[in-house]
Symmetry: C2
Subunit: 210 residues, 2 copies
């Protein structure tokens, strides 16, 4: 007979079980700006200022805000995420899409072909984007070690159970693997509300990728 | 060897397969009014007028509209569903909940204990409700024949696959059986947006009830 320290056993079991889970974050509407947009909206050569870090290394919330203006409505004080990118991108939910009157396609971040136009404005200036509005496809950022552990590969589509207070399973979650990532699942606020998301909601991959 | 009429075969197979599916409807924010609220908002003895029928027998959209007013925001021209009920009930999404500043609990329709207060108004009058705001728990209305066919009972909780363009599985869908119902699944607009709902989106029960 083996003598077991119960506290230690509970600790080991908890750690083993939690390894199966991924923390979920809900992304509100936000924009990423390129150099041309920053120049236009804040002045030539302006540098965005960091307000706070995000979970993904190097990514941050800026102190600056911007208005997003569609044919049917506008949102004031929309969050800008830094750092500066090569292309300006506006990420909204489908609820926002209806309020703005812009038909945002469900797309992976950075995949802007065929996306609709929108206007951005500050009190200093404005810019008419010819394209760049998306509703971000739900996804899991994963570092390469976790990808091995979960047995998934970059661009896999997996089925993920969410443990919010309105339990559901997303059947089409994109895996993105990079050593620049920390492992987090990202959903928008329509999805967050549909699953009863709260800070600390966990997810588990229940069917591996194709 | 049996000779088969291909068109007939396709027809039979299609019918068999479609029997497995349930049509989904997305419910926008709306209110049900009792006599006291109608008197207050439209005048003593006022009768709501039907604009169009809903899928559920006897239920209809009214021509009248009402403002829903919370501590942080208001919605104008909110739909009233008839007929008159014994209790006034305001059904909103969790997105609406945030905009109004009212914490709507996820509840089955009619289950109003512990729900928060809200104000309703028209140009003729207003009423402060002491309770009655819910985010409706996702559910399937089912007639008794379909309940037998799907092998579920009233108040069962089932797992349901949605075939929208953002495929997902709701893990906590309430079954309501009544001979007053036609078989339809009802979700709110957060859920509709999370699953990429469009008119004609179908659902299938993939795990039976408990």
């Amino acid at each position: 007979m083996i003598e077991v320290n119960i506290n230690q056993l509970v600790g080991i079991l908890t750690e083993q079980i939690l390894k199966e889970f991924i923390e979920v974050e809900a992304s509100g509407r936000h924009v990423h700006l390129n150099r041309a947009a920053i120049d236009q909206l804040f002045g030539k050569g302006y540098k965005l200022t960091k307000d706070r870090d995000l979970s993904q290394p190097g990514q941050f919330v800026c102190k600056e805000r911007v208005a997003v203006i569609g044919p049917k409505g506008r949102f004031e004080n929309v969050v800008i995420l830094g750092p500066e990118r090569s292309e300006t991108q506006v990420e909204i939910s489908l609820t926002d899409s209806i309020a703005l009157g812009v038909k945002a396609p469900i797309k992976e971040s950075g995949n802007l072909s065929g996306t609709p136009p929108i206007k951005l404005a500050t009190h200093l200036g404005e810019i008419d984007l010819e394209y760049g509005v998306i509703a971000a496809k739900r996804h899991i950022h994963m570092n390469p070690d976790d990808a091995v552990r979960f047995d998934v590969k970059d661009k896999n589509i997996v089925r993920v159970q969410l443990y919010g207070n309105r339990p559901l399973i997303f059947d089409d979650v994109l895996i993105r693997v990079s050593d620049k990532y920390r492992t987090y699942m990202h959903i928008d606020y329509d999805e967050a509300n549909a699953c009863g998301f709260e800070k600390g909601t966990l997810a588990r991959i229940i069917k591996k990728g194709t």
